[in-house]
């Protein structure tokens, strides 16, 4: 009876170790805090109607940023815990973590950073920026977009569920390599939580990618040909095409692993004719392109940033586009370089080594076009530009170490070492993450309506750059000294100083993260002075800057007509056309996405704990929801032309009033000292008067 009702759940599943208790307390505490806050502010209805059920890609983008930001902190904490253990655990000392717990942490760290931080930010940026860049009002399928976002949130919850129930996450490394992930070597629910977190969010990714490909191909402004679209949109298009190509492969592979674990099948087991090498092949056929899914949008961001802040059009646009297409095509044929060491013959290894080295060509082409863009430009050193300059140097090192790793004989020595770990962190932090930071800073006025504080932004950048090299420089060295990755203990005491420096570097990066949070708060405090009243704070070139900041929910009051690249720049040279308003068709908000994602989460939970009735009920629920949604024909509404005109007029009035309010000559951006002073004053004020007051 108990089995029927709650499957394999039992009392031991409740949190009872310090880290699960801590995690559970943090999760429940955050949830409780939010519930109380929203209730007290009487914002439930607003939250539901304006945000949770929205189909506006800009709002969905912001929600992606928020969730991914929280996950960055969560994954960052994991990173510090890993470094701390390795700094302590030398020789006689065994550190403060058990090896099992340590392995769970690095597994969760990898899963969270790749799937829920990098992917979250990338989807957030694409959501917010791509429609604006191509002159579209919404996406090809607004509903798929909200569904994709909520499936991502379902994955985020699933990856953290083990804190509340189960007590253990997978300890297999972020890819759940077989046969380590089989029930023979990994009993318990950890791997199941991982499988379902990735399955649920992975389906969301596939749907999102289809949606953006359709949007970019079919919904561009009249006159905008593929050869006109901005490079961020090109990067996103290549990235999404790759995602559609490989994510179904991930879903299928994890499904087979699930069958091994749930139904006792033998796809990847050591016994019964299973073949674990097959899993390694399949997971990397997805895994390698995935890295490029993440980095191509960042390449796009940097292309925009370099061009705008050099006040110059991108040099050799065609080469840049071909470079992106080349990277994304070649990325599908290099997966075997992740396991040269499995023992394939020299011919096979040489082929995949060669393909991997060829990828460096289109990547170098992109770097060279950026350099050519700087040449004879008029360069402004804003923070997005700093991220770019830090990125190129760092990424060059990552690229070179990548070419070394691509040589099978060298890889035999470097594979599975900390050198490898340092290499891919160079690419993912120095490439993907800094690209995202550059993009967020660059587009922040469009997102929030005010610029970010540059002063504190610069400090954050330097902390990240210096912290990064302090943290990962030692790992390169340790790899060359023969240190393998994922060690919770080592006997060679000459390694310890390097691990300690790495830990300190991790702390410097943490300081950078804190400064970024301070930067956002300080900018909010000075939002009136930093307000972007023109919609075009950087003298931009692409269509998103032709809209007011923050962009209205319908994006464009009149859809622009495009005939060239850098459409907005050209329009500014020729004089902006007169506006003629017309009726706008907008999609209606829908809660179907939330319902389906919630049911998918429940089904996944049922699979983790073998609760059959829950699986069946949730699956049926999903079918019913999808059918109900398809019968809903009232999914759009019309915003009449007069209404648009009224809204535009009001906004222009407001912007004008704001504009006159700003005294640029006397205004100074808040520094750190000033921020601390104001913050303390505010806290004291709240305590004394027992009353909230906005900053």
């Amino acid at each position: 009876m108990k089995e029927l009702l709650i499957g394999k759940l039992n009392w031991q599943a409740l949190p009872h170790e310090w880290f699960t208790l801590g995690g559970a307390a943090a999760l429940l505490g955050l949830g409780l805090f939010l519930i109380i806050l929203i209730t007290r502010l009487k914002r439930w209805k607003w939250l539901w109607k304006e945000w949770l059920t929205t189909v506006d890609p800009k709002k969905i983008g912001i929600m992606y940023f928020i969730v991914a930001g929280f996950m960055l902190l969560r994954g960052g904490l994991d990173a510090i815990m890993i470094w701390l253990q390795q700094a302590l655990s030398s020789g006689a000392s065994h550190g403060y973590l058990s090896s099992d717990h340590f392995q769970q942490i690095f597994t969760a760290h990898g899963n969270i950073m790749v799937f829920f931080v990098a992917m979250g930010f990338v989807f957030g940026l694409i959501n917010f920026i791509v429609p604006l860049q191509i002159g579209a009002r919404d996406l090809a399928s607004p509903f798929l977009n909200t569904l994709g976002f909520w499936l991502y949130v379902g994955g985020v919850l699933m990856v953290n569920m083990f804190f509340l129930l189960g007590g253990k996450y997978a300890a297999t490394g972020w890819l759940a390599v077989a046969p380590l992930s089989s029930t023979q070597f990994s009993p318990g629910v950890g791997v199941d939580y991982m499988i379902w977190a990735l399955q649920i969010s992975g389906v969301g990714t596939t749907l999102g990618a289809i949606n953006f490909i359709m949007t970019i191909l079919k919904m561009r402004a009249p006159g905008m040909k593929l050869k006109h679209i901005p490079l961020f949109t090109w990067g996103s298009l290549c990235s999404m095409i790759m995602a559609v190509t490989v994510f179904p492969l991930l879903t299928a592979t994890l499904f087979l692993l699930f069958l091994d674990r749930y139904a006792g099948m033998h796809f990847f087991t050591t016994t019964g004719g299973g073949n674990a090498m097959m899993y390694t092949n399949l997971i990397w056929m997805w895994g390698h392109p995935e890295v490029y899914v993440l980095i191509l949008p960042s390449f796009g961001v940097f292309s925009e940033v370099v061009s705008v802040f050099s006040r110059k059009r991108i040099s050799s646009y065609t080469s840049a586009v071909l470079g992106m297409i080349g990277v994304s095509t070649l990325a599908l044929s290099v997966w075997l370089h992740h396991f040269f060491t499995m023992g394939a013959g020299a011919d096979v290894n040489a082929f995949f080594g060669l393909m991997t080295m060829i990828i460096a060509v289109p990547t170098t082409v992109l770097v060279l076009t950026w350099i050519a863009t700087l040449y004879k430009g008029r360069i402004r050193f804003t923070t997005p530009m700093l991220w770019f300059l830090g990125f190129v140097g760092t990424f060059a090192v990552g690229g070179m170490t990548g070419v070394i790793l691509a040589q099978p004989p060298a890889d035999f020595q470097l594979h599975n070492s900390l050198f490898l770990v340092a290499h891919f962190h160079t690419m993912v932090i120095g490439g993907v993450l800094w690209g995202i930071f550059a993009g967020l800073t660059y587009w922040f006025p469009k997102i929030a309506g005010f610029r970010l504080n540059e002063r504190i932004g610069r400090y954050a950048f330097w902390c990240w750059l210096i912290g990064f090299w302090m943290a990962f420089g030692p790992l390169y060295i340790l790899g060359l000294m023969g240190a393998t990755r994922r060690l919770d203990h080592y006997t060679n005491s000459s390694w310890q100083p390097f691990f300690i420096v790495a830990l300190l570097g991790g702390l410097v990066i943490m300081a950078g993260v804190v400064l970024q949070i301070v930067q956002i708060i300080a900018s909010f405090m000075q939002r009136r002075q930093l307000a972007d009243t023109t919609g075009d704070p950087w003298d931009g070139r692409t269509l998103e800057w032709s809209t007011p900041s923050p962009a209205p929910f319908y994006n464009f009051a009149t859809i622009p007509k495009v005939a060239t690249r850098d459409a907005f720049w050209e329009a500014k040279q020729l004089g902006l056309p007169e506006r003629k308003y017309e009726d706008i068709h907008m999609p209606r908000n829908t809660a179907s996405g939330i319902y389906i994602a919630a049911l998918a989460f429940l089904a996944g939970f049922g699979f983790v704990w073998h609760i059959t009735w829950l699986i069946v009920a949730a699956m049926l629920g999903i079918v019913v929801c999808v059918i109900a949604r398809t019968f809903n024909e009232d999914t759009e509404y019309v915003l009449p032309a007069q209404e648009v005109e009224k809204l535009e007029h009001e906004r222009a009035q407001k912007a004008l009033a704001r504009h006159q309010d700003i005294h640029t000559d006397t205004f100074e951006e808040m520094g750190l000292r000033e921020f601390v002073r104001v913050a303390i004053k505010w806290v004291l004020d709240v305590i004394r008067n027992k009353r909230w007051r906005t900053l």
Binding site: L180, A346, M357, Q413, N416
Partner: protein, 297 residues
């Protein structure tokens, strides 16, 4: 305004100095440390390190000027530089489009022409040709979480310890039993290779200098991962023979009862030696997984 500029310039200089200081400090920390991959004590490791160094040099030849150009342009064409000649509206021609592809293309050709022969020469399956000495075969079984070494020619076995004669080609035959994928790695001697159940993977290495080196598991394989290490000793021929003779005196035998004891998962195992190995033990272990036993679980 001017004061603000100067202040910012000082700040940037400070940060850059700090950055350089980090790099210098890391280099200083390296003094007197054993950097295994560039302190090769085996022929394979030596050739692998040469390939790495060659690659780095070729890459630096292009990367250093490229990066210098980048930072030079960024500095020279800064907005506040009144002396810079700008041309923000010019289009770059075909020559640029050609060179951005040609430069990395040439580097690729150079590197590929060294990589492909090296991959064949350093194929781990390939036996090492050494003057006159017959190769030594060592059968390696990865278990949870220990390494079992069987010397079929000497009829001895060891756990978490391996000894080889200097200058003799050694053929490690890797497999695993009741264990996830493992990777067998002795950094001073040469690159790693996977050890998997039901398969034999050959790794050919040859030590060049006598001494004790550390080896271990490189691929995550469960709780005992970090402790799955062994000492790899390279000794002169007569010392090796002496060592074998010494083990032959021991009364511990690796029979199936003893083997099954070893199969029980255990962590941080001390070294052990056995004189006499049950005949065909290694083949039995490999074939165990090849029978497609559908009763397996």
């Amino acid at each position: 305004m001017a004061a603000k500029k100067t202040k910012r310039r000082v700040q940037v200089k400070g940060f850059l100095l700090l950055f350089v200081a980090v790099i210098v400090a890391l280099a200083a920390l390296l003094r007197g440390k054993d950097v295994a991959l560039f302190n090769a004590k085996g022929v394979i490791a030596q050739k692998e390190s040469h390939l790495m160094i060659f690659t780095v040099v070729v890459l630096l030849v292009i990367a250093v000027p490229t990066l210098m150009l980048l930072y030079f342009f960024a500095w020279k064409y800064r907005e506040s530089n009144p002396k810079a000649r700008r041309a923000t509206e010019t289009q770059h021609g075909k020559f640029l489009a050609f060179s951005v592809w040609a430069i990395p293309g040439i580097v690729l050709l150079v590197l590929a022409s060294s990589m492909i022969p090296a991959t064949h020469e350093l194929d781990p399956h390939k036996a090492i040709a050494a003057s006159g000495k017959p190769p030594l075969t060592i059968q390696v079984i990865a278990m949870r979480w220990k390494w079992l070494f069987i010397y079929p020619q000497q009829d001895i076995a060891t756990v978490n310890y391996v000894q080889v004669p200097v200058g003799t080609p050694v053929q490690f035959e890797l497999t695993a039993d009741d264990a996830p994928m493992n990777s067998f790695w002795i950094p001073h001697w040469g690159g790693q290779l996977y050890a998997m159940t039901g398969m034999v993977n050959q790794l050919n290495l040859m030590a060049t200098t006598a001494g004790d080196y550390s080896g271990g598991a490189a691929e995550i394989n469960g709780e005992g991962f970090a402790g799955m290490k062994f000492t790899a000793r390279a000794s002169l021929d007569q010392d090796f023979d002496q060592w074998v003779l010494g083990i032959r005196q021991s009364s511990d035998v690796l029979d199936s009862a003893q083997y099954n004891k070893l199969l029980t998962p255990s962590q941080n195992n001390p070294a052990a030696v056995y004189s006499g190995v049950q005949s065909d033990l290694y083949n039995t272990v490999v074939m165990k997984y090849g029978s497609h036993d559908h009763m397996g679980h």
